[in-house]
């Protein structure tokens, strides 16, 4: 069993923001909380999926809400552990391990904060292999695992519990409570056996994200230079090869909290304003990228926006007018290309009137990578 310690967290956090495709929540406060928790209580064991006992009792933990809320409504370091305790009391059973909703931003760190000092491991895997905005889009419910019993905790210690047969209903209920509880809550949900987890989890994503974060740190510099080492890291992974979709500057960005989600749209133009434009649709995550109206990448494939100068991945709630960015597309793990998964995560599930086309069949409109500009380029 591997050990995660405070020192490895910045890489995990940054790699998780990369995989989050814009969502998952801003990791800044979660990273500070996780570093403090692990510095105080020692490292947390990261258990590989196949090391887990079939009869282990596991639940998924994470934050639910509009990511922009997490920029203003600061969570307490104690919330995740409290949420676990509330959950265990509610179901009358102690957990043997916890797993992440999604390997995205802050949500990759919540499980670590929750178990620090508890002596139970975090599973090396997650329920999305990326971030997605709704509960029923997780691999656990797609594989048939009930979402409830589940609990929600807000930053004031208020508690709600949920019981329903339908994950779509569960999503509606937690979303309503997230709105009523100030915009952001911690939930513990999808209680499952080790065996159920093995049948549904996206494996290895915590260590994979940490590796991606390491590459981003060691190759810090402008985006054209990061693509080669990134491709090397993704080779042999369950994801496809990172593809360059577009490089330019953000010339429009609108965002609003609607129905408890961040809903937005970004327009990105080339640096000199000539040539095509890329438009990105946001629902917590980057869902659809169109170049001059033609689909360049769509959910469930990953759309990643990097800061052009530093290759830092940018969460949707941090996207700003004038930023110079590079947009990448990466084919999602095969699980999300199954009929069962696409029934919940295709572009149509988000209201876009198009069928899903795999990223690799959409290359016609992808822009060539511009040459690397001169500028600072650290290598540590």
């Amino acid at each position: 069993m591997a050990q995660l310690n405070a020192e490895s967290l910045p890489d995990l956090s940054s790699g998780a923001v990369f995989l989050a495709t814009g969502g998952g929540g801003d990791p800044y406060v979660a990273l500070l909380s996780a570093q403090q928790a692990l510095a105080e209580h020692g490292g947390v064991e990261l258990i590989a999926v196949d090391e887990l006992d079939d009869d282990a009792f596991v639940a998924a933990i994470g934050s639910v809400g509009a990511p922009t809320a997490s920029l203003e409504l600061l969570p307490s370091t104690d919330d995740p552990a409290k949420a676990l305790a509330v959950f265990e009391k509610h179901v009358g059973r102690k957990l043997d391990a916890v797993v992440s909703f999604e390997i995205g931003g802050g949500n990759s760190l919540i499980p670590l904060i929750a178990v620090a000092g508890r002596g139970i491991p975090v599973v090396d895997g997650d329920g999305m292999g990326r971030a997605l905005p709704e509960a029923q889009m997780m691999t656990y419910p797609i594989a048939g695992i009930p979402s409830t019993p589940a609990v929600a905790l807000d930053y004031l210690g208020n508690i709600a519990t949920f019981s329903t047969d339908s994950t779509e209903t569960y999503e509606r209920h937690i979303r309503a409570m997230a709105q009523a509880m100030g915009g952001m809550i911690t939930t513990v949900e999808h209680p499952m056996s080790g065996k159920q987890l093995k049948s549904s989890v996206v494996p290895g994503t915590v260590s994979f994200a940490t590796g991606i974060g390491r590459i981003l740190r060691r190759n810090r510099g402008n985006a054209p230079r990061i693509l080669a080492p990134l491709r090397k890291a993704f080779a042999g992974s369950m994801y496809g090869e990172p593809k360059h979709l577009f490089t330019g500057k953000v010339t429009d960005y609108t965002s609003a909290i609607i129905g408890g989600y961040d809903i937005g749209k970004a327009m990105i133009e080339t640096f000199d304003g000539s040539g095509p434009k890329l438009e990105i649709e946001v629902k917590n995550e980057y869902l659809l990228a169109r170049i001059d109206g033609q689909v360049a990448a769509s959910v469930p494939d990953l759309i990643i926006i990097l800061d052009f100068e530093t290759s830092t991945p940018i969460n949707a709630e941090r996207l700003r007018y004038g930023q110079r960015v590079t947009v990448l597309g990466i084919a999602c793990p095969d699980f999300y290309r199954s009929q069962k998964a696409l029934a919940r995560v295709s572009p149509r599930n988000f209201g876009f009137n198009i069928d899903y086309t795999p990223l690799e069949n959409l290359t016609a409109h992808h822009q060539p990578l511009p040459p690397a500009p001169s500028g600072p380029h650290s290598h540590s």
Copy 2:
């Protein structure tokens, strides 16, 4: 201990709609459900407040939501009993009695449906002495009784539970869940001892409402004829004397479900269109009556709208353009004129920029009662 049987329910229902001041939910389906439950399981014991043991375990039960939803989203007869069972499992203790949120419309009948066949009594009293739209406006929380642990059940059997120190927060949470659960839910809440109940309940309102319903039935006929027997019934009660505010026809009625409440406004003009106009503001209940802009009655005093021809009390969600109506005002029980209560139920709590003035100090604008017209007048 008195007994309530299926035969007494129409009077209770109609008297409760009278006291509901427009809210409390349409009683039609609840009445059928209660009649069926009591016909099947026998009568339900109605326990007087002072007969209750100080250490009895009691909780309040009722429906929460926008009353208009109850016209379309029909509840199941089993819901109240199921909600009690879910609550007892959640708190790990059996109830000795249940009490109503509010002696209003359908909510006066929910406790009876819940305990039919269970052998536990319903308390002769309620938490409002009328109907009011928000949880923190009940006498129980005003007297300091915590709202949670509490449970909510929807018509599909989905369950949520709540835990919070603040009744205002509790109200926000159940309202959000009522919206997410289809508009109307059954909640069990405000667990309390017999002693706590005695310190907070509005006593005797179930039997009082039944008496009012009996008067409405026996004196069925136009509104000018009902006032004398009503005044007799209210004399010596904890309410004031029924006052005639206005008689006319509904010339405007707008209503919308906003934030999980029915929000509306009614304009009532004299039959011949001459003279003053009465405007009524609605938030689930009739909250404020103004005659040509001058306050004629306001929450927490009771505003009642009767069908002019039959004296049938009309719920807000049944108010329609063209109805001929008589509007009455009745001073609320003293409890709601205390500083502590007015801090939660004055006109300002509903967004009206006026202080509360007791009904009896507002008589200047009340209209004289028109003469009784000829027409059908049954007396049974």
